[in-house]
Symmetry: C2
Subunit: 432 residues, 2 copies
């Protein structure tokens, strides 16, 4: 090696920037085991405090991509959507088939549930029989044949991201905007995209608690997208309450089926259609936002998107006959209601806490190796600004067992009720 | 474990203080392998950026001591001197026997040469036959019988310090004042001292480059000493040029022998006597600085200190017949002179660089596993403020081989010569 790892750590610790070569050599040596985990963790902590320059961030991300395999779909309309994660977000299930119907190639590669947030891949597996393609070839074949697929980043794609994330998770170095941005973008660049639609969530149920944090992350993502000539559009959207009414694996599939019938919560529909419209723009299929909107609405309302959805689920082994009776996705051992202790208006929902409680009840995972109970989840009946009468249900839990008194009072405590009606938070905080 | 390591890392990362219990549990778990090296290195980097509170620093240091063995010398006059390291510092060889002759118990536990700095243990081993006691009992026996010994911290004393230092060395986390102070003091507290004399070096050849850095370190050391009821005195002293005229293992022993005859450089003599006087004060043997000075001067001038030195060297297996012919310690294969390119006055000596060049020539080590050539070293003839005539030697190297042209010009470049006489830097910058 040309540089000692500790020399590179000292450069970063002092706030100076590493060169192109230094970053590449350092990351490659880490992947091959020449740089030790304890050296990388000290480096990552220095990055937390000092940050990356635009050039460092670009090079760091590019090396994460170049050391792994990339998808070989090279059409100009190969695009994807990515959300930074929240509670009740099931837009991917709607957006991918809509965009595919409109002419995009969408390798919708998603992640797993962790902590208080849900994961698209887990929700997908709540559909009986579904298989997730585990190779680059498998993903390419599905996308080429059907226009999209539901997959995950394979072992061979961005392997550094997996190694770095596992280390960050146990060394208190998750919350670096640079490392978050490079982690997201390394997986997206490995998809060989021409365009990307980002949904940066902000609020209590998101990782970014303030619009300022969300804008910082956006800025970093824009840097990486620009230097890789990826067309980028998207929104900073509200996550101060769950998106839609349902959370949990099967309950969210139920809500997806309702959304294909245009019977879901208006906020969920609105965000899905806005993000889908932006997909057509970054794919270069439409130049104009309102024309794109007309196209995606027609794809949904005509039933073509639902047809495409069923086609791909079936191609991935899923039993689409279960869709004929959506109530199948709401069957759990116990239904349990949390009733409002008073009359008034919902003023606040502790969304992160709600996510953690349902994760503890079996709808999510604390550690990546935990198993999830697909039936567990909830219908959140009341949202911010809604009026509520004493004794009315705030939330219906779909549970494997009756929750303890402690969990019940934690759930009740997630809803703040005031005397004055507050307006619902703006769904879209910023468009880019 | 009560706390996940990453939770404690996050507390430190946010700048908050860990509790007594959290620090103790974290360090004990690290020593036993339950906290991983990659978690500790991330924590240490967070400490570099956030620092420790006074309580954290005390608890961190005390846990480093309590997890190891301590010396069992419990007299009220059991004291030690510690220097933060520099080039040409051989005061320990004079101070320990002087203090012992005056009634102190001195377990003079020193370190090894590393980087540009020398190490007392290596210089000691340049005396043929010398053995370093490798157990607590061995050290205790020597100190009880002779009043002092030359030893090192054994494997059983402050084992966490060794583990932490090795990790800091390869993760860019050496330069934290808190970690430096706790490392020094953990070894001193393991000696079970009642008093400590500190020589904090400042200048180009020291680790602390500015008086401000030296004062920061002093403040941390004072905190730890106070909470452990250790009497502390000392100086911040100049290391902008080598101390004395000689550097290298055997050449420095030569200078020690000269000093016992009061024939060494006045700055070396002055600093040694001042530090030795302070030993009597922290031991409680004298209340008054001038009375202490009289006593230590008499110990040196009367030859009693030299006699004591010979007694201990012999007890540690050293061949003191070599002292009869001090020139033995200046015999090397090649003597090589660096001549002054011009007439004028020495205005600056790049002491750190000088240390590194001689380390590369064999007088020191880059890595802790390197071996040192005891004959290699130098006589620095000219010091800051001295006049020099063109062609006069600035430095005589005692070498195993003729240095390359590059090293020769690097050595010549260590001396800056100007037209105007500058005064020698103050030897003692601050007394405490």
């Amino acid at each position: 090696v040309k540089y000692l790892p500790q020399e590179l750590i000292l450069i970063k610790r002092s706030g100076k920037a590493l060169t192109h070569d230094q970053i590449q050599e350092f990351l490659e040596a880490y992947l091959s085991g020449l740089v030790e985990e304890y050296q990388m963790s000290a480096f990552l902590m220095a990055v937390f405090f000092r940050g990356f320059s635009a050039e460092e961030l670009t090079q760091w991300t590019q090396t994460m991509v170049s050391t792994g395999e990339r998808l070989g779909i090279c059409t100009t309309t190969c695009i994807d959507k990515h959300s930074t994660g929240g509670v009740g977000d099931k837009t991917s299930f709607l957006i991918a088939p809509i965009a595919a119907v409109c002419g995009c190639q969408v390798p919708m590669l998603s992640g797993r549930a962790l902590g208080h947030t849900g994961g698209t891949l887990d929700k997908l597996e709540a559909i009986p029989g579904v298989r997730i393609p585990d190779s680059v070839e498998g993903i390419e074949k599905l996308v080429e044949k059907h226009g999209f697929c539901f997959g995950g980043t394979t072992r061979s794609m961005a392997p550094l991201d997996k190694k770095l994330y596992a280390l960050r998770d146990v060394t208190g170095t998750i919350e670096s905007t640079d490392l978050i941005a490079s982690s997201i973008m390394s997986k997206k660049l490995a998809e060989n995209l021409k365009g990307l639609v980002m949904d940066i969530k902000v609020g209590d149920g998101a990782f970014m608690k303030t619009p300022e944090q969300a804008r910082n992350l956006l800025e970093k993502i824009q840097m990486i997208a620009k230097s890789n000539r990826i067309r980028l559009k998207g929104v900073i959207s509200d996550m101060s309450q769950p998106l839609g009414h349902y959370l949990g694996l099967r309950p969210e599939i139920y809500e997806v089926l309702m959304a294909f019938q245009n019977k879901a919560e208006s906020r969920l529909m609105e965000l899905s259609l806005e993000l889908a419209s932006k997909m057509l723009l970054v794919a270069g299929l439409e130049q104009d936002e309102s024309a794109a909107k007309v196209k995606v609405e027609s794809a949904l309302m005509s039933g073509r998107a639902y047809q495409k959805f069923c086609e791909v689920i079936e191609a991935q082994g899923g039993d689409i006959s279960t869709f004929e009776n959506p109530e199948f996705y709401l069957s759990s051992k116990h239904h349990f209601e949390i009733l409002s202790p008073r009359s008034g208006y919902i003023s606040r929902i502790s969304t992160e806490k709600l996510g953690y409680v349902f994760s503890a009840l079996g709808a999510g995972r604390k550690n990546i190796s935990d198993t999830i109970i697909p039936q567990v989840g909830a219908k959140v009946s009341k949202k911010i600004g809604d009026s509520v009468v004493a004794g009315e249900p705030l939330l219906t839990g779909f549970l494997a067992e009756i929750p303890s008194q402690i969990l019940q009072s934690q759930l009740a405590g997630c809803f703040e009720i005031g005397d004055v009606k507050v307006s619902a938070p703006e769904l879209v905080i910023e468009r880019f």
